[in-house]
Amino acid sequence: MRDNSYQAVMARRPDIMKAAVGMDYSRFESGGIAFDYEGMMQAPGLSLQEIEAIQHSYAIGNTPLIELKNITALARACAAPGKGARIFVKDEASNPSGSFKARRAAVSVEMARRMGYKGVVTATSGNYGAAVASCAAKAGLRCIVVQECFDSHGVGQPEIVEKARKCEAFGAEVLQLTVGPELFYVFLRLLEETGYFNASLYTPYAILGIETLGAEIARQFRTLEGRDPDLVIATNAGGGNLTGTARGLLHENCATPVAAASVSLHGLHMASDTQFNRKSFTTGHTGFGVPFSTWPDRSDVPRSAGRPLRYLHSYHTVTQGEVFFMTETLSRLEGMERGPAGNTSLAAAFSLARQMPSDQCIVVQETEYTGAGKHHNAQLAFARSRGIDIRFGDPRDEVPGQSIVLPRAPELIQAQEADLAQMRRSLIRNARQHFPGLVRPEDIPFLMDETRADEAFVRAQCEEEP
């Protein structure tokens, strides 16, 4: 009989994963820090056109690119003369499951189907579960979604409760857990029990699926404006959204810089039972965004295909109150009722646009669906019921877990720029800790690619004490 203790299952992780993603990651390894990232991305042998064909067969993609003229007007009313870039948004909520996650789910589910798997399993409390469930429904595959949903008192985060409902609406089995990273243990046991495909967010399939989003932005923007946008901004959590979008832009020879935005949950521990229901964002926040950017291989596959520091030009944080403010603004000024998490990058864009000349353009690369539980009113009401202090004021005074400060004027929405050099240093430090010993010559160009940094920067970090 198989030993199903926590330690025994975790020890079987490499073999379970190999069987569940239909891909041998060892052939991309060099035996140290460096690995063949581009080789891994090309291994599935799927061109952008083939990925688009898969997504179209699932009714995914070709979402509208919409100019937010009234939000631009508001930004200009809060900016110096001549400032206030035009803001556009890619309305990804119009995908069948209500978010851009449909793009990555479609490729994973279709590959699972082609490889003969009978079902797919995914560990996610977010929109990705709904996306996988939706695609599995269309592909005729079984689907299991594992969620971190409740605190130890059985109180569910309303947004995650809603995701469970949506997954079940598409016919998925949903396992709902209390707080803790051992969710991964449950996930591994399920993969072993069922022999299903691991529809991970971090395989090449998943990231290739997002490249179409970047490519569409480049093509649609050129059709609308006859040029490239000046900035594309993406909400960042696990890093796949940003990576795929940036790669898609590059595929279309679009050199527009890509920025990341996350909600600041500074001070909250993501694995804490008591803090679990004191945050109002379950994704798109710094609790995922920073650790996954500075060490992508903490994901559920041996090497993550989402590696945001390779692509991002700047990283901005916004507060929960700022995002809720912009979510209400999107609804009331543009007639678009969308979920708050997807509007993280919109809040950052509203801040950045006010510093940019008025003839420039920013593209916010996603929206997500909203509904009971995940509506901003639902989240604020839940937070208030948990004793969080909700008030108007200066968002800089917000303390995650204690208060949500709605800006008393739109001028006070001020995205904070994170220290990218610090994040690059952190990635190199993490790589060296993961592969103790000397940094080899082939690791230097790899780390330069990993961090978008020059050789002198990388060498300086590699010479420090680990």
Binding site: E173, T178, E182, Y185, N377, A378, L380, A381, F382, L406
Partner: protein, 101 residues
């Protein structure tokens, strides 16, 4: 009494506090990892019984039969008056005048 074939929800303890991963913070380490799943009851039972269900994915899962948990009760939440103030503020800045928000 729940009958064989009824759609029900079961509960189980996946890891007791002493079995939890070493890296979890203290508050989490002090409570068990619990799990809920839904499925079709394989035999007649009463709430609190150890039962087996067949899940939506066709799996057999074991746990304790719980009461309720099948209805979706999440909502748009109690009225948050501040959101109407946000709406009025941004409307006035863009369109001017009385928004009646």
């Amino acid at each position: 009494m729940p009958k064989q074939g009824d759609w029900v929800r079961i509960h189980s303890v996946v890891l007791s506090p002493d079995q939890r991963a070493p890296q979890v913070p203290e508050d989490t380490a002090g409570v068990p990892l619990e799990m809920w799943v839904k499925g079709y009851l394989t035999e007649d039972a009463q709430v609190g019984d150890a039962v087996t269900v067949r899940t939506a994915a066709g799996r057999l899962a074991q746990g304790t039969l719980t009461e309720g948990g099948l209805n979706y009760t999440h909502s748009f939440g109690d009225n948050v008056p501040e959101l109407r103030q946000v709406a009025a503020m941004v409307w006035d800045r863009v369109f001017g005048g009385d928004s009646h928000a």
